[in-house]
Symmetry: C2
């Protein structure tokens, strides 16, 4: 077990579960606060998910959009990184539970993210994988490239057509970007590589159950996105729900679309964090948090990002995007920092009390005192920052090569300029000089050559 499990806390311990956009932002924002931070993640890297679809479509390498969490936080002396899978939380004893140990906290930030959800049709996942992890992306890349390889060797026209049909389910930013990228792979990157098939004849179907693509954008930009996709050969089907998915393809209403490669971009569900706490959640598993993002009746536990259900002020939930998670991470860090500064006054008292009793090694007592002490400074206070409010700085989505839509509220852009803005914003928000350079280089090269540099079929055969 780790040393700190039974140690007397000299500063409040903040445990952050999940090093996505929310968790990592919170950890960095606490760098100079008088707290001890522990970041726990199942993976050793922070993933820049908005570009994951480019890994799936052979445009970028996994390492270009991932940075080791340890390396990001190595200079932050008050922070420890733990690689591990959280199995639960004991909110009464204030402990995070892992498979083979537990980590005590004074404050807990749950930033555990979401994964794709199939609305009760879990069997669909095997046929139409979603895109949340690096291994998801390399698996989709594998399926995409294998489909063209098999089509090249397939003498039967009907089966060849099925192999050359790609279905993307879900018309949000991920679905739109994915469909555009698949079209680009087929029409440009692979154009001259085959002898028996013409990859440019691939059929790409984008299905959205709602009335229009990109529902979070203004209607005018949705229409432009649809038009741009159609121009590059994507078959857009809005207002049509997928009613079945199997090995051979999808069913839309009464129509079957035979396909060998289906990609799920239709829905996500939050991690089981709400279950760990027994907290109230919406159908997607998001915890209904207080205005300060704390969990009801647990002022020392916060949920942020995809783990939290927060209203946008007009009754709609905030979307599951990076800026929301980052602003929430920032907000919670500020709140905890304010309380930790207040706690500073109390810590000497607590240490004194322990010293008087000469019981530093009696962990049961320490734990009890620690909890009592924590209760004193973890409560709300009038000096806390006001309730969290999201500032929407804009929405961006790209549609294949040289085209994007950008919504800055009053300013709306589309086309090449929007695409450059989209690229610049994504490079800017990437973590680390190496990744920024690598992505810029790969994009520049792809733009000039129409090629995709990462066309590797790797991983275990299915």
């Amino acid at each position: 077990m780790l040393d700190h499990q039974n140690a007397v806390p000299t500063r409040p311990r903040v445990v952050i579960v999940g090093a996505g956009f929310g968790g990592l932002t919170a950890a960095k924002a606490l760098a100079r606060s008088p707290v001890e931070v522990t970041v726990i993640d199942r993976r050793n890297y922070h993933l820049f998910q908005p570009l994951l679809y480019q890994v799936a479509t052979a445009g970028l390498s996994p390492a270009d959009i991932a940075s080791p969490i340890r390396a990001i936080l190595s200079a932050q002396r008050n922070t420890t990184v733990l690689l591990g899978r959280v199995t639960g939380v004991d909110p009464d004893l204030k402990r995070v539970l892992l498979a083979d140990r537990f980590v005590p906290y004074d404050y807990l930030i749950l930033a555990t993210g979401a994964r794709h959800a199939y609305f009760g049709h879990d069997a669909w996942e095997a046929h139409a994988p979603g895109l949340k992890k690096i291994d998801d992306a390399t698996q989709i890349r594998r399926r995409l490239l294998i489909a063209f390889e098999q089509a090249e060797a397939e003498p039967d026209a009907e089966r060849r057509q099925r192999l050359l049909t790609f279905v993307v389910i879900g018309g949000g930013p991920t679905g739109v970007e994915m469909a555009g990228a698949v079209s680009e792979v087929a029409r440009h990157a692979l154009a001259k590589d085959f002898r028996n098939i013409d990859p440019g004849t691939a059929r790409i179907v984008l299905i959205e159950a709602g009335p229009r693509l990109l529902p979070a954008f203004p209607e005018s930009l949705s229409a432009i996105a649809e038009q741009s996709l159609r121009r590059i050969g994507v078959e857009v089907r809005t207002g049509q729900a997928v009613t079945d998915v199997d090995k051979e393809g999808v069913v839309i209403g009464n129509e079957r679309v035979d396909s060998a490669t289906m990609i799920w971009a239709a829905g996500v569900a939050a991690s089981p964090a709400a279950k760990w706490l027994g907290a109230e959640a919406d159908r997607a598993g998001r915890i209904k948090v207080n205005p300060d993002l704390s969990v009801p009746d647990r002022p020392e536990i916060f949920a942020i990002g995809d783990t939290a259900l927060v209203s946008d002020g007009m009754g709609r939930p905030l979307p599951g995007v990076a800026p929301v998670a980052k602003q929430q991470g920032q907000y919670v860090a500020r709140l905890i920092a304010a309380r930790a500064r207040r706690a500073r006054v109390m810590i000497p008292k607590f240490a004194d009390e322990l010293r008087k009793r000469n019981h530093t090694r009696v962990s049961g007592l320490v734990a009890r005192l620690s909890l009592k002490f924590a209760d004193e400074f973890q409560g709300r206070d009038t000096s806390d920052p006001p309730a969290f409010r999201y500032r929407n700085l804009g929405n961006l989505a790209t549609i294949g090569r040289s085209s994007a839509v950008v919504d800055f509220g009053r300013i709306r852009l589309h086309g090449f300029i929007a695409w450059l803005l989209w690229g610049a914003a994504h490079v800017y928000f990437l973590i680390g000089f190496r990744n920024r350079m690598a992505v810029t280089l790969d994009w520049f090269w792809a733009y000039l050559t129409f090629q995709r540099g990462v066309r590797l079929i790797t991983g275990p055969e299915e």
Copy 2:
């Protein structure tokens, strides 16, 4: 089935199995010859194996050292690429057999490479994986990084020491480069990332059964390599054979070395190509070829690279390195091109004969005639190039950061200049502008920052 299976050949069909250094060089050298080339490989990419150890040690991304075979050969109109696993050869009917089809040939080039061999101890592979494929490299990278993570969380000192002990078995270039890179990861890249362990205290053991490291190099350079490795903290043990490998570590003679991460760089064996043909092979499975690299009694079948056993003129076999394979690919392509030019004269005769008999659709007859015809031009001729001779242009091996040994025969270099030469040579031989840029960028960044950009733990958990 593919069209060409029963078609009348209008030009000799050259089938190349394997798109490694040998096979790819042969294919490219045949670009302008009057032949139909088919390249068959199990994977869709050509891999630059000399840098695979850098993928395993988090320095490079897989895509940086791999290029899609289709993209490399897409402009070569006489060449078709097939993704598939060859299961055998029928040398009498002149067909290469795949799982679900066969591909007929007039000339066959077997460039199927090698994989690691455990000299009868196949059980060792699970504990000490070798390094031949991209998936091998990402698995070793995973084990390497996980070991440090587990050590960070391990309270028991003895088990922590085992987790921080890395054993590399085999003192050839791969073993030397691997040991140097592991030392660099521990001493530089991870130096500041942990709180409970000091990665710099990692123990790295390099074991070589022979009397010295890098046996293919002059003794003076072997000594320098050993010295350089010792200086960066690698424990070099020459003249000591590993007698057992299990989950907990290795046994050297009577001594146990507890280790959680063992890497096999001690031996390779050729692919089963010799078995496909029933050809005579040495213990490592390499086919004993004729001086023109053809298989005895099969003048139309050639074996090159790691698949062939060729003497260096002084009774020693040529080493399994890229330059040997590439020169052999070049040689065989020249030989086949010469014969194909002679065949040009005969093909009209053959077509005439078929037309006269009006039997173009009777595949049995076509096959018989095709064989008869092939026999005429596949034999040796006095206008063939002379026997293959290897021109050794030099040997290079790197030893961690800023150090390498280079042997150009009379000129021998070591240290920083040798390291620059090593880097320049490897970038030069990489295929494609994108990969050259990506590798240069990653190396430059690593050199300046002492970091490694590709520290991702991916893939299925073991």
